[in-house]
């Protein structure tokens, strides 16, 4: 039937559209980064001079800023996220309360990033300022640490819901095997349940890390926007994403824009790598 033939071709082409889209994104980013790549080469990643005036650009401060905020926020989120996963799958038995609680957790991910940033800028940052002056640190309020706290709040739902799914899938026979040997719930969790779900939990944290890595608005509003390598975690800093957000519309020269796009390319590549890694881990997950 001709109509069917056309229909099926449309379906197959739609798949191709996605391939074309992703290829196009990659190629565009590479192509537009070429001026910057040609000019700075691999040193782009290791140079700390971000100097629009002299048209010299190095991405190191932002790579460091991004790594710092992503890693610190991930570390902060781990105990909270694990607790939620365990709470929802092992401890809370009432289905209704469990659903409500899970909804609250996932709603955090639904708050627009710019609003989280607003809260961070006007409520968290002043709080951090008071805290910092009490601790004798320079009371700027914003900075790497504040941004990390904001990020950790935002990324918890991702690893928490994956963790909960994975832990719920541990077969009851395996857990009863441990209990029948006289283990407490904690001991069963530690020695049997968590090792069993380790891959999935790890993949969940990887996903959270990926989210933190590329998050823009909330970070931009509380990181302090300083293009130097941060001296401490309480200093102001800049991430790759916040840099682009701040300076893209101000980029006056072709090289300037190209360098910013090259930073976007780095973000793109890293997000792909994290995605691939996460899939590999999940694939090796089943027992």
């Amino acid at each position: 039937m001709r109509k069917d033939k056309v229909f099926k071709i449309v379906l197959l082409l739609s798949g191709f559209l996605i391939v074309a889209l992703l290829s196009g994104i990659f190629l565009s980013l590479v192509f537009s980064s070429i001026p910057s790549i040609k000019e700075f080469g691999i040193n782009f990643l290791f140079s700390k001079d971000w100097d629009p005036v002299n048209n010299k650009f190095g991405a190191l401060p932002f790579i460091i800023g991004t790594l710092l905020t992503s890693v610190i926020s991930l570390l902060i989120s781990i105990p909270f996220s694990l607790s939620i996963s365990i709470f929802l799958s092992e401890i809370l038995k009432n289905k209704l309360i469990s659903n409500i609680f899970q909804t609250f957790v996932e709603l955090i991910a639904g708050i627009p990033s710019v609003i989280v940033g607003l809260w961070g800028l006007f409520i968290l940052a002043p709080f951090m300022r008071t805290l910092q002056s009490k601790l004798g640190i320079q009371p700027i309020g914003v900075g790497i640490f504040t941004a990390s706290i904001i990020l950790s709040i935002m990324i918890i739902p991702y690893s928490a819901s994956i963790g909960k799914e994975v832990i719920s899938m541990v077969p009851i026979e395996v857990k009863e095997g441990a209990i029948s040997l006289g283990a407490t719930e904690f001991e069963t969790l530690k020695s049997v349940t968590l090792p069993f779900s380790f891959n999935g939990i790890f993949a969940g944290f990887l996903l959270s890390f990926g989210r933190a890595f590329g998050e823009t608005m909330a970070v931009t509003m509380v990181i302090g926007n300083s293009n130097k390598i941060p001296e401490s975690i309480f200093s102001a800093g800049q991430t790759m994403a916040s840099l682009i957000a701040n300076e893209f519309t101000e980029a006056t020269t072709k090289l300037y824009t190209s360098s910013l796009i090259e930073i976007g390319l780095i973000l793109f590549i890293v997000s792909i790598l994290i995605n691939i890694l996460g899939r590999l881990i999940i694939r090796r997950f089943s027992f």
Binding site: M1, I156, A241
Partner: protein
């Protein structure tokens, strides 16, 4: 196996439960803190004048966010118009052609698209639309947002279609129906709730997105209905006002955030509620 260690193990067990309980509840506190503080500071500035009047020039007190509200509607609406049909078609493709190698690749690419930071999507829309047109435009913002919404529609569609029992398709084939009619008249209607929830969740997501609009739709002091020109949106306005030095603009940012957060969370909750119905 002595008495002392038994006591300690029971104690550790209790401790573990307290720890998990405590940290779980601490985790959801930020949700309430954020909603509370935004609402508390924003609600008093919301009135009909705020919603329906235009922004005042920089530095002047007063004014409203009407152009941003209209702009958000238009840009999100156009983005949805782009993302929904394409998303459904790709979703049908992924569901109907499962197990094929090509399909697996497309699936991975859809996931990849979902993982791309939204600021990078903004760069792409800038390169593909803003640069050639030589100006910021609402349409470039819509296209950026459609890239973000697309994976959400695709995934919901694919998931819901996978749930349609094979027997139903077989019954349609047995009646001699042509393939395209089976998809359009049987498959898609059965999956309509799932497609709808994917759409709703996608819309609630892009309503709040700012990064991709920073250098595509940009912003506009005036009301603009022309897709080829820059257009103001609520999240963009919030960002500009919040990071400005004007106290009045800060208050307006809170007020706009109150409106935005209520709309976004309501759509999100509604979409989630409907999702539970078909994911059963």
């Amino acid at each position: 196996m002595n008495e002392k260690t038994i006591k300690r193990r029971i104690f550790n067990n209790k401790l573990y439960k307290i720890f998990v309980f405590l940290f779980s509840f601490l985790s959801i506190i930020p949700l309430f803190l954020i909603i509370y503080f935004v609402l508390i500071r924003g609600i008093k500035y919301i009135n009909l004048k705020f919603i329906f009047s235009m922004p005042k020039p920089m530095g002047e007190i007063g004014g409203g966010i009407f152009n941003a509200i209209v702009g958000s509607f238009i840009i999100v609406g156009v983005a949805a118009l782009i993302a929904i049909p394409i998303g459904i078609i790709v979703g049908v493709f992924l569901s109907e052609y499962k197990e094929k190698k090509y399909t697996e690749i497309v699936k991975i690419l859809v996931d990849t698209l979902q993982g791309i930071p939204s600021i990078v999507i903004g760069i792409i829309a800038y390169l593909w639309i803003v640069k050639p047109l030589r100006q910021f435009s609402a349409i470039s913002g819509s296209i950026a947002l459609s890239f973000i919404m697309l994976p959400l529609v695709i995934k919901s569609t694919e998931e819901v279609l996978n749930l349609v029992p094979v027997e139903i398709k077989e019954a349609a084939y047995a009646l001699g129906a042509p393939y395209h009619r089976i998809v359009l008249k049987i498959l898609l209607p059965s999956g309509s709730v799932g497609i709808l929830t994917g759409t709703l969740i996608g819309i609630s997501r892009i309503l709040g997105e700012t990064a991709p609009l920073l250098f595509t739709a940009f912003g506009n002091q005036f009301l603009n209905l022309n897709l080829l020109k820059p257009m103001n949106t609520i999240p963009y306005l919030i960002y500009v006002y919040a990071t400005s030095p004007y106290k009045d603009w800060h208050n307006q940012a809170f007020a706009a955030s109150t409106i935005l957060i209520i709309i976004v969370l309501s759509i999100n909750l509604f979409g989630r509620f409907m999702e539970k119905k078909w994911k059963m």
